[in-house]
């Protein structure tokens, strides 16, 4: 049904202009749609974070603007739009200005691959997972540039910490994903989801899949710079870390991108471990839009686990951070890949 809407729009446009123009128009339309999704998603997740944090801390969280305070973040965003864009005098002006767009662009590029449902996926290539991992590591460049170009010691330390953290934990994310790719045998996201119709990978892959999921969650938290891995913007030590010198909308870009990155990490987890947009046991396969519903529910559940981490664990010290990655996660991950390969080879997966 939703596919029909898309084909209807396609045919309507074909009636108006030539095929090439239609192609370009559709690209623009999809881009605008994804920008909209980006903004709404970011604002929604900020609201969710604050509300969940409230309940964790025996508070209520924002509950004044709109139903359950749902419009609170929109009000905040409007405030940020109206703020002056400040900067330091000796900042590297060009880099300082383009740095936020690195983060936004890469987050948007990664979002193009996310299968919101069977029909809604903007960009389905045969190296999908690989593309996701590589694109999401470019986003670090934006943070790094922000730290460097601000000409502020706190920003610089925050940026450097990002470098350390990303180089370390990129490995773990990658290897946890590779473990699941061994099981799936394909890198294309739509195919990975299709393969899980007989059972989600976390069940079919059992022990190594669960270990991979745990490692992915830990490393994913580090990837999205969230507590307990938020050394990048450790408030008590660095002011605000890499975005200390940013204000107004440029700050908001970082803020939203951080939450959208969390969404992307959660989506990858859902696609690889929990069957993407598939319903449990195929109970709602006949209903249209059900895929979108199940995908959203699963992603929000995974995001909730990230928030649970945030409001439970204290921040790491930088040496503990590196010890955890290089001495624990990486060796476990390597053994886990071999274990998964053995399981697939011997046919021990369900």
């Amino acid at each position: 049904m939703i596919l029909n809407i898309f084909t209807d729009i396609h045919n309507l446009l074909l009636g108006l202009m030539s095929a090439k123009a239609v192609h370009i128009t559709e690209l623009v339309l999809i881009g605008v749609a994804y920008l909209g999704i980006f903004a709404v998603l970011g604002l929604f997740l900020v609201w969710l974070e604050r509300r969940v944090a409230g309940f964790f801390q025996l508070r209520l969280g924002p509950n004044r603007v709109g139903p359950s305070g749902l419009f609170q973040t929109i009000a905040d965003a409007l405030k940020l739009v109206s703020k002056e864009l400040t900067g330091t005098v000796k900042a590297d002006k060009q880099l300082y200005k383009i740095a936020p767009y690195f983060v936004i662009t890469t987050a948007l590029m990664a979002m193009a691959l996310i299968p919101f449902s069977q029909e809604i996926q903007a960009f389905d290539i045969n190296i999908g997972v690989f593309f996701l991992i590589s694109v999401s590591s470019i986003g670090v460049l934006g943070i790094f540039l922000a730290g460097w170009s601000s000409n502020n010691k706190y920003s610089l330390i925050g940026g450097m910490r990002t470098g350390i953290q990303m180089i370390s934990y990129e490995l773990s994310v990658g290897m946890a994903v590779v473990t699941m790719v061994v099981l799936a045998g394909t890198l294309q996201i739509s195919e990975i989801v299709e393969l899980q119709k007989s059972g989600w990978f976390i069940f079919t892959g059992h022990i190594p899949a669960i270990i991979a999921f745990m490692i992915f969650m830990i490393a994913g938290t580090a990837e999205s710079n969230r507590v307990p891995f938020d050394l990048v913007e450790a408030e008590s030590e660095l002011g605000a870390g890499f975005h200390t010198e940013y204000s107004g909308m440029r700050f908001a870009y970082y803020f939203l991108a951080e939450f959208v990155n969390m969404f992307i990490i959660a989506s990858i987890a859902v696609v690889l471990f929990f069957g993407g947009w598939l319903s449990p046991f195929g109970i709602t396969d006949a209903i249209p839009f059900a895929g979108l519903f199940w995908f959203t529910v699963k992603v929000i559940a995974v995001i909730f686990i990230f928030m649970w981490f945030r409001w439970t664990f204290p921040r790491f010290r930088i040496d503990q951070l590196l010890t955890l990655e290089w001495k624990y996660l990486l060796p476990i991950n390597m053994v886990n890949i071999v274990l998964m390969a053995l399981m697939v080879w011997l046919g021990l997966t369900f």
């Binding site: 969940v52 409230g54 309940f55 964790f56 801390q57 025996l58 508070r59 209520l60 649970w308 981490f309 409001w311 439970t312 664990f313 624990y328 476990i332």
Partner: protein
């Protein structure tokens, strides 16, 4: 090997931590039982502050509209901000034949008060005390200047017994 036991113990302690915070979350998410937030302007009728709360300086009046203030002005002198002004007068007591000082107006400027409590400590009669009212919001600054002794009130006849 401490390496593997470290992993297991670490995971276990993390899960214990998550169980505790998870309990907080789900209990409050489902029932709002332990939520300590006061929804300030909405619950004005039911919101009562605790006894030691320093909301404002009040003067104690008993049921006969009598207070204990004998206009000694110690509170006025104790106040570092000059928030207290005392207007007093003397009148002849027919029984003893002496002039007795009595209070006309005990003026209290809430807008200048820092709730330091020096006036209350200084008062030898315990005539003034803390009130728990915290909702002082006014559109006019003049409304924050209050007269503490109620109109028509008299000084309490001192009884011999100690308080």
């Amino acid at each position: 090997m401490s390496y593997f036991s470290d992993i297991i113990n670490g995971t276990k302690s993390l899960l214990i931590g998550m169980r505790i915070t998870g309990k907080y979350f789900f209990v409050n998410f489902l029932t709002r039982k332990d939520v300590i937030t006061e929804q300030y302007p909405d619950n004005l009728e039911t919101l009562n502050m605790f006894d030691r709360y320093r909301g404002e300086v009040t003067m104690y009046h008993n049921e006969n509209n009598e207070h204990r203030c004998d206009a000694c002005t110690l509170c006025e002198k104790a106040c570092p901000n000059g928030s207290i002004e005392i207007i007093s007068d003397k009148e002849l007591n027919p029984e003893t034949g002496k002039n007795v000082r009595y209070i006309v107006k005990h003026i209290y400027h809430l807008e200048m008060c820092t709730m330091c409590g020096l006036c209350i400590e200084a008062c030898p009669q315990d005539a003034i005390q803390w009130g728990q009212n915290f909702h002082h919001v006014q559109y006019d600054r003049g409304k924050l200047t209050k007269v503490l002794n109620k109109p028509g009130s008299k000084i309490m006849i001192k009884t011999k017994e100690k308080k």
